[in-house]
């Protein structure tokens, strides 16, 4: 099994899977990772870990050479949202028939973007086995299985491991096969009807843009000198999150996508107390999130990822549904205005997901069969 990626999520997964006896290799093709991550890992021979999975050291092989993908039945990609594009572009020629690409998390629209890019590579790649998009199965989870932070070039602290994750597959007609391959990796995976069902339940989209927009001044003035969840997510911030949640659920209902409430997901994943009655209470009672500090600036994945690859694709999907989403739109526009980044252009918009001008029926067909 190959893990593509070298961030804290990839480290946490490598440790977790090795502890459970899987044969795992870590690989990155990002140039900067060579000196900051891969070479230190090669010198050290593995990863030091602390936290919820205990304390210790796991031997993990690491490389900058992606040709190891060829020998893996399952390729896990654990990166920031825009990392998928990089791997789709650089590794498309290495994927083979019957192989499963496992995006964890998929963010929303990650699989669609990946499939679209692979298909484009196939058409222009020249050599290789023809149309790549026809033979690739992509599955994704609605969240990363870990709350973790990298504490050094070869160190990770794992605050919490999830107890619940959804698995969507693209094309969804291969959902059964995909589940059979990945279920041992995360036994708590629950298969769902499509990658949109899992994508629409990405909790970071609920939690991060609202908290960033409504604490932007505090973040910049104090360089992140407050606890993001336990101090920054006040009642008013939680009210905006609840309003966002209502819009998200309305969009799912309009598109016939099953969903669960964010609150129920958060409880099921073990991130908060069963007694929490709303988002505010859930965040206050969230032990793994209690001490997490706010970002020290607005140049952070809580915006670049969760707006560009979260709110933007979600808003694009909402437009297909026809449901008005004023809270979602407000957060997108304010995030763009406050950073000077036009997220609807730089982020994962309709066009990049291959959904431009698509109707509800068209959307459902793509989710089931892929792009024709």
């Amino acid at each position: 099994m190959t893990i593509l990626g070298a961030g804290s999520g990839a480290y946490a997964a490598a440790v977790d899977l090795k502890l459970r006896g899987f044969d795992v290799q870590l690989c990155s093709t990002f140039e900067p990772d060579a000196d900051s991550k891969i070479k230190p890992l090669q010198r050290e021979g593995g990863i030091h870990y602390t936290g919820a999975l205990g304390e210790g050291f796991q031997q993990v092989r690491a490389t900058m050479d992606p040709s190891i993908i060829r020998d893996s039945e399952l390729v896990m990609i654990i990166t920031l949202a825009n990392g998928y594009e990089h791997y789709a572009l650089t590794c498309a020629h290495l994927f083979h028939d019957g192989q499963f690409i496992f995006l964890t998390p998929g963010y929303i629209g990650g699989s669609l973007r990946f499939l679209k890019l692979i298909g484009e590579q196939g058409d222009t790649a020249g050599g290789g086995n023809g149309n790549h998009s026809g033979r690739v199965r992509i599955c994704e989870t609605n969240n990363l299985a870990y709350i973790s932070r990298q504490t050094g070039p070869t160190e990770v602290r794992i605050f919490r491991k999830s107890k619940f994750l959804q698995l969507g597959t693209l094309p969804s007609k291969y959902a059964g096969e995909a589940f059979d391959v990945v279920k041992d990796v995360y036994p708590f995976l629950v298969p769902v009807d499509s990658v949109l069902e899992s994508g629409m339940l990405n909790p970071n989209i609920v939690l991060h843009p609202a908290g960033m927009v409504m604490n932007a001044g505090w973040i910049e003035a104090s360089h992140g000198g407050f606890r993001y969840y336990s101090e920054g997510c006040t009642r008013a911030v939680a009210r905006v999150m609840e309003s966002f949640e209502e819009e998200r659920v309305a969009v799912c209902n309009a598109l016939g996508i099953k969903t669960m409430m964010f609150l129920d997901y958060y409880k099921k994943a073990g991130y908060t107390s069963e007694e929490a009655t709303g988002i505010y209470e859930a965040l206050r009672a969230s032990e793994p999130n209690r001490e997490l500090m706010a970002p020290s600036s607005l140049d952070h994945r809580y915006l670049t990822e969760d707006v560009g690859y979260g709110l933007v694709p979600m808003k694009a999907i909402s437009e297909i549904s026809g449901v008005p989403v004023p809270t979602m739109s407000s957060l997108v526009h304010l995030s763009s205005a406050m950073t000077g980044i036009n997220f609807e252009v730089t982020g994962l918009n309709s066009e990049k997901m291959g959904l431009h001008g698509v109707t509800v029926q068209g959307l459902n067909q793509i989710l089931r069969d892929g792009f024709s």
Binding site: M214, A216, W218, A221, R235, L331, L334, M338
Partner: protein, 372 residues
């Protein structure tokens, strides 16, 4: 009216003035006018706010550093006693109270009496006129408004009014358009604006307070406003959003055939900053009169109720008439509505309350110029 020499002012005209209100604006106005030898009577719906003035027979004031006692200020128990003999009625209340006072004043309106809204902020005169004419379509009165309060001022707990700055170049306008010599006699530093659209759209509070509050909502709520609103709260991202609001405002004003000043230039022209060479961030850093002002202690604040509900909302109504898209203003209004569980779109100063429902730009312009 007596023409005398008073305090060395040639052709001084002593006016009988009623000042309505019990807060910062009313105290500052009353003290200032009384110190300039006008005949001032105050009235407020909550009489306890004026109890000290009644007992002392005047107001302790510190005007631009100089301590003085403004004497011979009367307090009326009934509104009729304040306004029936007055040549000018200065309504110095939060703009959210305009509708209430319009109804209260309607029976007393006279053709030879001027009502001045200090401030009118956005749409004050339009709503005021609409309220009075709805009750009595034949009511005749002169009506003016200022774009912002003519003072930078705070009332202390002990009832002393501190006037940090008597603002210069504050715009005023009449509805319908024209000069008003009595208003100019009371407030010599005023500059005549073309019409009430110009004053309404020059409401600087509506441009800067909403971003300052929404983007520091967590900070306000968690610390109960323990930070310097202008000095600390206006970080680069908050300044950027203020500038984005300002761009929407400027575009609307251009469609109104007005020559708009940027927010920074308006702020500079009234003496609130010494730096108009940069953007909002630099202007706020150099804002001496606002240096020590703390953030509101909660989000239940006029910086939201007034500056969004009766500030941005009417601006977006003008925007609709002008055919200008206002996504940033809309975003701030939507989030404010969720924060305070109030639908500011309908509870705020809508086009219905302004009395401009169904108007196009041509009709609106002629309304504020001649036909109101």
């Amino acid at each position: 009216m007596l023409c005398t020499l008073s305090r060395g002012v040639k052709n001084f005209v002593k006016l009988k003035v009623a000042v309505i209100g019990g807060g910062n604006g009313a105290f500052a106005t009353s003290a200032d006018l009384a110190l300039n030898d006008h005949d001032v009577t105050m009235y407020n719906r909550s009489p306890e706010k004026l109890e000290l003035v009644h007992r002392r027979g005047g107001i302790n004031a510190i005007v631009e550093g100089r301590a003085q006692f403004a004497s011979k200020i009367n307090v009326a128990k009934k509104i009729g006693d304040a306004v029936s003999g007055a040549e000018v009625v200065v309504v110095a209340v939060p703009t959210t109270a305009h509708a209430y006072y319009a109804e209260l004043l309607e029976p007393w309106t006279r053709e030879d009496q001027t009502i001045l809204l200090n401030p009118g902020h956005t749409g004050g005169a339009l709503e005021f006129r609409n309220c009075i004419r709805t009750i009595n379509p034949n009511a005749k009165f002169a009506l003016c408004e200022t774009m912002t309060l003519t003072y930078i001022t705070r009332l202390s707990d002990s009832g002393t009014i501190q006037i940090f700055r008597k603002s210069k170049n504050v715009l005023y306008a009449s509805l319908p358009a024209g000069r008003n010599s009595k208003v100019e006699a009371l407030f010599p530093n005023l500059t005549l604006a073309r019409n009430v659209l110009e004053t309404s759209m020059s409401n600087i509070n509506a441009i800067c307070h909403p971003p300052g509050m929404i983007m520091n909502a967590g900070w306000v709520e968690h610390t109960k406003g323990s930070f310097l609103f202008y000095q600390e709260g206006f970080t680069p991202s908050v300044a950027r959003v203020t500038e984005a609001v300002d761009r929407e405002r400027v575009e609307i004003m251009q469609k109104m055939k007005l020559k708009p000043l940027r927010f920074v230039d308006l702020f500079y022209s009234i003496g609130s900053t010494t730096n108009n060479e940069g953007g909002v961030y630099e202007a706020m850093r150099s804002s001496e009169p606002n240096k020590t002002i703390m953030a509101p202690a909660s989000l239940d604040s006029r910086y939201i109720h007034e500056d969004i509900g009766h500030g941005l909302v009417p601006m977006t109504e003008f925007g609709k008439i002008a055919g200008v898209a206002t996504p940033i203003m809309n975003g701030l209004i939507t989030l404010a509505s969720k924060i305070n569980s109030v639908d500011y779109w309908t509870q705020g100063r809508s086009s219905k309350k302004l009395g401009i429902e169904g108007m196009d730009m041509e009709r609106l312009l002629s309304f504020v110029t001649t036909t109101a």
